[in-house]
């Protein structure tokens, strides 16, 4: 039977070899098999954006990927974006300073989405930021703090690239 497979992939710079069911989503693999519960699951059908991760540097919904599809690929989750255990990524720091999170549920998806966005577009307008996070639902802060944090992080990262 081909309902289980052993996969090798890199998550946050660390290599993992695991046997998984082929129907397992990447999101469940990260959370249940690797214990990386920073990736949140809201809707599990690609609408809420909470489970967004970076796959080879490009943002994607981890609920819409199978773990087996990530064989040989590099995944970055919210746990992997800070430079070290004691330092926040400038975007995380900006979220903290600008009240970009309340309950924190959407935050991992917001951060991963914005990291890719700010890499492609280092000097965005407010409108561009709002479009960039249009695929991420937040039910607490009303987006104001998140947009402010993204714009502040853009300025900081332009002055001192990560």
């Amino acid at each position: 039977m081909t309902r289980k497979r052993t996969i090798a992939l890199t998550v946050n710079g660390r290599r993992y070899d695991k046997e998984v069911e082929v129907r397992l989503t990447l999101a469940d693999f990260l959370r249940h098999h690797l214990g990386l519960t920073g990736t949140h699951l809201g809707c599990e059908h690609g609408v809420c954006g909470a489970c967004t991760i970076l796959l080879d540097g490009r943002s994607a919904r981890s609920c819409l990927l199978l773990a087996v599809q990530c064989e040989g690929r590099a995944v970055t989750t919210v746990e992997g974006i800070a430079p070290d255990a004691d330092t926040l990524h400038p975007l995380q720091q900006a979220f903290r300073e600008h009240h970009g999170l309340q309950c924190g549920f959407c935050t991992p998806g917001m951060l991963t989405t914005l990291i890719e966005f700010l890499r492609d577009n280092p000097d965005p307008t407010e409108q561009e930021v709002r479009i960039a996070i249009s695929g991420n639902l937040c039910r607490c802060t009303g987006y104001q703090g998140i947009v402010a944090a993204a714009l502040a992080a853009a300025k900081r990262m332009q002055a001192a690239p990560v």
Partner: protein, 291 residues
């Protein structure tokens, strides 16, 4: 919300895919996964086999050849959106892509997947209709070309056999400097449109329309060309009055009625959006040299 059990296949070549589709019963092709994966998670579909196209070689490219853009079926929407070639040579597709889902879904979603899923309101389906695209299909009897006008067989049902799959899409190019516009109305950014409209225009030196393509999406089971509007524009010098008058014919279209909108609202949107698309396409006529 977990996918049902299935067997997973990840072929590397076109021939392997054809072989698997010939052999397997109740198989689903997995392209970008932005429609099939939600359907699996919600168990709307229960396939015995999933054939993943993501590792098949040679299905992702964008090139210009023989007066057309040739696009591999597994080319990501995001690669099309960022393609300079697409922006210069098929600006209608570039404009439409901004409406396709979100950044995260465009990173995965493919042109072949969009066309085969065939949502009535899908932007790339409307673009393929507007551009008279030709789809190349591979199957047990080799490859065949299918004009996009013959591609929809019904609601979300492409006219390809269960043992066939799309490998490429050819988009015939319009003259440099043609006018184009893609407009849509959706409740939220990134949603499928309730109604969309696409327009392309070419004109002679005197401003008379020499070629027109007008498409409305989301109204019926598949996007449709508005042949009467196109015929009414031929040889004319465009004016707001002419556009408005011709687009009124959209109010006679047979229209879907569902939880999102009644038929009369879709007819109204089709008339308004096709007029707006034509007006914008007209203002862009001749701007090709600047792009």
């Amino acid at each position: 919300m977990k996918p049902p059990p299935f067997e997973y296949h990840d072929p590397r070549t076109e021939a392997e895919v054809v072989g698997l589709l010939a052999r397997l019963d109740n198989a689903k092709l997995l392209a970008g996964g932005q429609s099939l994966m939600p359907m699996l998670n919600m168990r709307y579909v229960l396939p015995d086999h999933v054939v993943d196209l993501n590792r098949v070689e040679g299905l992702s490219y964008i090139r210009e050849a023989g007066g057309a853009l040739e696009i591999g079926a597994m080319t990501r929407q995001r690669d099309l959106e960022f393609s300079d070639l697409v922006r210069r040579r098929c600006p209608l597709m570039h404009e439409a892509l901004a409406h396709v889902g979100h950044r995260q879904t465009r990173n995965r979603g493919t042109i072949g997947g969009s066309l085969c899923h065939l949502d009535p309101a899908a932007e790339l389906v409307a673009v393929a209709t507007a551009c008279d695209a030709v789809v190349t299909v591979a199957g047990p009897n080799g490859r065949r070309d299918l004009p996009f006008a013959e591609f929809p067989a019904g609601f979300m049902m492409p006219s390809i056999a269960p043992d066939e799959f799309i490998i490429a899409v050819r988009i015939p190019l319009w003259a440099a400097g043609h006018g184009h516009a893609f407009v849509e109305f959706a409740r939220r950014h990134g949603d499928f449109a309730i109604v969309s409209a696409a327009a392309m225009l070419e004109a002679d030196g005197g401003g008379h329309i020499t070629r027109a393509s007008v498409t409305v999406g989301g109204v019926a089971v598949a996007p449709q060309r508005m042949r009467d509007i196109e015929a009414g524009l031929a040889g004319q010098t465009p004016s707001p009055h002419l556009f408005r008058e011709l687009c009124e014919s959209c109010r006679k279209l047979e229209a879907l009625e569902d939880i999102h909108a009644p038929a009369a609202y879709r007819q109204h949107l089709a008339a308004v959006l096709s007029r707006r698309a034509l007006e914008t396409a007209h203002t862009r006529l001749g701007s090709g040299a600047r792009r």
